[in-house]
């Protein structure tokens, strides 16, 4: 008959990675407690817009709805929304005593869990930190996250308020990524794909939009992205190497950037510039690291030791999943969830 393990796993974070772990644990009859600090499951993925044009562009955003349904309806899962981890009493064998705090009223709940999965995700880089780009100061400069809100609400007409026949938009890649000067000397993985998908989606909906994507190095892993880039090129998207370091407002209100095209310096004007903002370690990382004893790496993400075993943290019984151990796409997060559940099952089998 169906047997449910009596040992319980705690998942901290209800984004795509935490939900994927919850779904997989539930499938395999391992009970779980999911603690999410906001009032909703889904995390960043849920704020993402659908990128489908004629067909799906494989952004994987929809998966979060499936996982949410499965986790929310799981008979062996408990979900605490608006809660955060406040205390852990570690023991070398068996269950660990943990306390979670209701963020709203401060009430604490004590739970016993067998092991803990950190799935706290990432924070979005705030481009105000590098004010050359004019984010928050110049109208028309927005982030990829802002663009997604507009697309989700199906308000793309807002990007062309004066209903012009032709609108020039640009994506600036690597904003808050690959940048030592702000301590983010790493690629954020998701932005090249996200920018290309967004251009295809927007051109599909608004043929009057013309796009330029400024990049340093396009990162196009897998089979889908290279073909999407070819499609974007065919639809007239210009890809220019080199990301302008400054945006200024021209007299006519347009956004002006100086750049080099085919070896000649030129000034170009755009109606909108979208900053493809990178992933940063989550703000809760330092505190969680302190509570759990799981160390952070030089960038502030959770350290997972070697590439050979990215699922386990340096502390026994504590696992790391998704983008809190380094920038990740939705697909990467889902794959890392499988890796973590596999490690949990293996460790539980061994302990028996």
């Amino acid at each position: 008959m169906l047997r449910t393990d009596e040992r319980k796993i705690m998942i901290i974070g209800g984004g795509i990675a935490g939900l994927a772990v919850g779904k997989s644990l539930s499938d395999n009859r391992i009970p779980f407690v999911l603690v999410e600090k906001t009032d909703e499951l889904g995390g960043h993925s849920k704020s993402w817009a659908c990128m489908a044009t004629e067909g799906c562009l494989s952004c994987h955003g929809c998966l979060v709805y499936d996982y949410d349904d499965e986790v929310s309806s799981s008979q062996i899962g408990q979900i605490y929304l608006g809660h955060e981890l406040s205390h852990v009493e570690r023991s070398s064998k068996g269950n660990q005593k943990v306390r979670i705090r209701n963020i709203q009223n401060g009430d604490e709940t004590e739970l016993e869990v067998y092991s803990i999965v950190i799935a706290v995700g990432f924070d979005v880089f705030d481009p105000k930190e590098k004010s050359f780009w004019g984010y928050g100061r110049i109208d028309g400069v927005m982030t990829l996250a802002d663009l997604n809100i507009i697309m989700r609400l199906d308000q793309t007409e807002k990007l062309n308020p004066s209903q012009k026949d032709s609108v020039d938009l640009a994506f600036f890649q690597c904003v808050g990524s690959r940048d030592k000067s702000i301590g983010c000397n790493y690629c954020s993985q998701y932005c090249c794909g996200a920018a290309i998908r967004a251009t295809l989606k927007l051109i599909h909906e608004r043929p009057e939009f013309h796009f330029t994507i400024f990049y340093i190095d396009l990162q196009l892993p897998g089979k889908t992205l290279p073909s999407l880039m070819d499609e974007a090129r065919a639809k007239g998207v210009s890809f220019l190497q080199g990301v302008p370091g400054e945006i200024s407002q021209a007299e006519d209100g347009k956004l002006q950037v100086l750049l080099e095209v085919d070896g000649i310096n030129v000034a170009k004007e755009f109606d909108r510039i979208i900053l493809s903002v990178g992933q940063q370690p989550p703000s809760s990382a330092a505190l969680l690291s302190h509570i759990l004893g799981a160390p952070l790496n030089e960038f502030g993400f959770f350290d997972t030791g070697t590439l050979a075993d990215p699922a386990r943290s340096a502390v026994g019984g504590v696992y790391v999943v998704g983008s809190c151990s380094g920038p990740a796409t939705i697909e990467d997060s889902v794959l890392s969830a499988g890796r973590v559940v596999s490690a949990i099952i293996a460790d539980m089998n061994e302990a028996r």
């Binding site: 590098k130 004010s131 050359f132 100061r137 690597c174 690959r178 940048d179 030592k180 000067s181 702000i182 000397n185 400024f214 340093i216 190095d217 190497q241 080199g242 990301v243 302008p244 370091g245 400054e246 950037v257 100086l258 750049l259 080099e260 070896g263 000649i264 310096n265 030129v266 000034a267 790496n297 030089e298 350290d303 997972t304 030791g305 070697t306 590439l307 990215p310 380094g326």
Partner: protein, 409 residues
């Protein structure tokens, strides 16, 4: 998840493989940010900071050495502000200029200046006696005013041992622009500090620095440091001079390979300090016109002095307006890095600086304050050339206009 292997590698490579001058340019990963921040971008459409690095990378440095661009560049380093790989374009350009200098391709007037420095210790070729006479003459020109502020202040102190401050002027003050020295003399009288000038070392500028003539530049710093020690001054005070102050503050210890055991301060910093201590008595809102502040690249972006001049100006000016961009993002006036001094460049510097002109005009300010003498001359020339409805003033000059009458003891 970075492997130890790579970590080890990067740490050793940094030190071991620096066989040529330009190895650090390998760090450039052609992100392109610098291209769009160069104010010469449109004046020299075929060249930009990134391309310079790339050409050198491919061994085509001669083309760069022979280019006019390296002398049009003001070494303002705005292009490499927040460079993701932390490169600094001013040092790169300086190294290229050094190569041009070594090949005898440096601009004539600058080369001559360095010759004068080797002989006289200053770029105008003025000997000690003439310098002292000139300085004293400037003081006598405003003797009455000085004496009114402070008794005996019309006598310029030279080589006073143990003075609080050793003041290091810019040669403009005893040649083309004595009005500035007058301003500073009045300032010293108002705040009544124990200060002195040296009769031996009296040039804060460094033309060899402009030329990438490193050994000559080091010798100048050495002379100033040794003179400060000889006179047992607690503070080596820089006049309102961008690059001179920047070298003392940022490069001196590295170049000399020793710790500096006295304080290095700019006259604006000193004014701010005395203001905070209540020793500089200025009147709030004394200046009625609207005032903006131009951050000199060396004082601002490179040394990080942004707030002191602003605090002072905001106090004495009723209407202080910022230009955008400002502080570390400030656009160069177009006169730095020897472009002012280089006669080969002619008036091009005024055509290259329309960005600064427009930026100033957009503020609608009536007075532009700044704290670097190169900036002052360049902005003055810009004003004249484009008939801009503004006055250009030094920060200290504005402070003097706002002195409380009861400051006199």
């Amino acid at each position: 998840m970075e492997s130890e292997y790579v970590k080890d590698l990067s740490s050793t490579s940094n030190t071991n493989t620096k066989s040529t001058n330009f190895d650090d340019l390998n760090m450039c990963f052609t992100c392109g940010q610098c291209v769009s921040r160069c104010f010469l971008n449109q004046s020299y459409p075929k060249i930009n900071p990134r391309k310079i690095i790339r050409k050198i990378f491919f061994g085509e440095e001669q083309e760069i050495i022979d280019s006019e661009f390296i002398w049009a560049c003001t070494m303002c380093a705005r292009c490499t502000t927040d460079c993701p790989k932390e490169l600094s374009m001013d040092t790169i350009i300086r190294r290229i200029r050094g190569m041009a200098w070594a090949q005898g391709k440096a601009p004539v007037r600058l080369s001559e200046g360095v010759e004068k420095i080797r002989e006289f210790g200053n770029n105008v070729g003025m000997d000690s006696e003439e310098f002292q006479e000139t300085a004293q003459w400037v003081a006598e020109e405003c003797e009455e005013e000085l004496e009114e502020i402070l008794e005996d202040s019309s006598k310029v102190p030279f080589d006073v041992e143990g003075a609080e401050i050793l003041y290091m002027p810019n040669p403009r003050e005893y040649t083309s622009n004595p009005g500035l020295l007058e301003t500073y003399l009045k300032f010293f009288a108002h705040v009544n500090v124990r200060w002195t000038m040296s009769s031996k070392v009296y040039d804060i500028t460094s033309w060899p620095y402009y030329l990438g003539a490193h050994d000559d530049a080091v010798a100048l710093v050495r002379a100033m440091v040794d003179e400060t020690r000889r006179l047992k001054a607690g503070i080596l005070l820089s006049t309102e001079c961008g690059h001179g102050f920047k070298i003392l503050k940022k490069d001196a210890e590295t170049w000399l390979g020793e710790k500096i055991d006295f304080e290095i301060m700019s006259i604006v910093q000193l004014a701010h300090k005395l203001f905070k201590e209540g020793r500089l008595k200025i009147k709030r809102g004394a200046i009625k016109q609207s005032v903006t502040y131009h951050d000199p690249c060396n004082v601002g972006r490179k040394v990080g002095i942004f707030e002191e001049p602003r605090e002072l100006l905001k106090y004495v000016c009723e209407d202080f307006v910022e230009m955008w961009p400002n502080r570390k993002y400030s656009i160069c006036c177009g006169g730095g890095g020897s472009v002012m001094q280089n006669s080969d460049m002619g008036q091009k510097r005024l055509e290259h600086s329309t960005m600064k002109r427009d930026q100033i005009l957009r503020t609608g300010a009536e007075i532009v304050a700044t704290s670097c003498q190169s900036c002052l001359s360049q902005l003055g020339d810009l004003q004249a050339r484009y008939k801009m409805p503004v006055e250009i003033k030094s920060v200290i000059e504005i402070l003097l206009d706002a002195i409380e009458p009861d400051n006199t003891p």
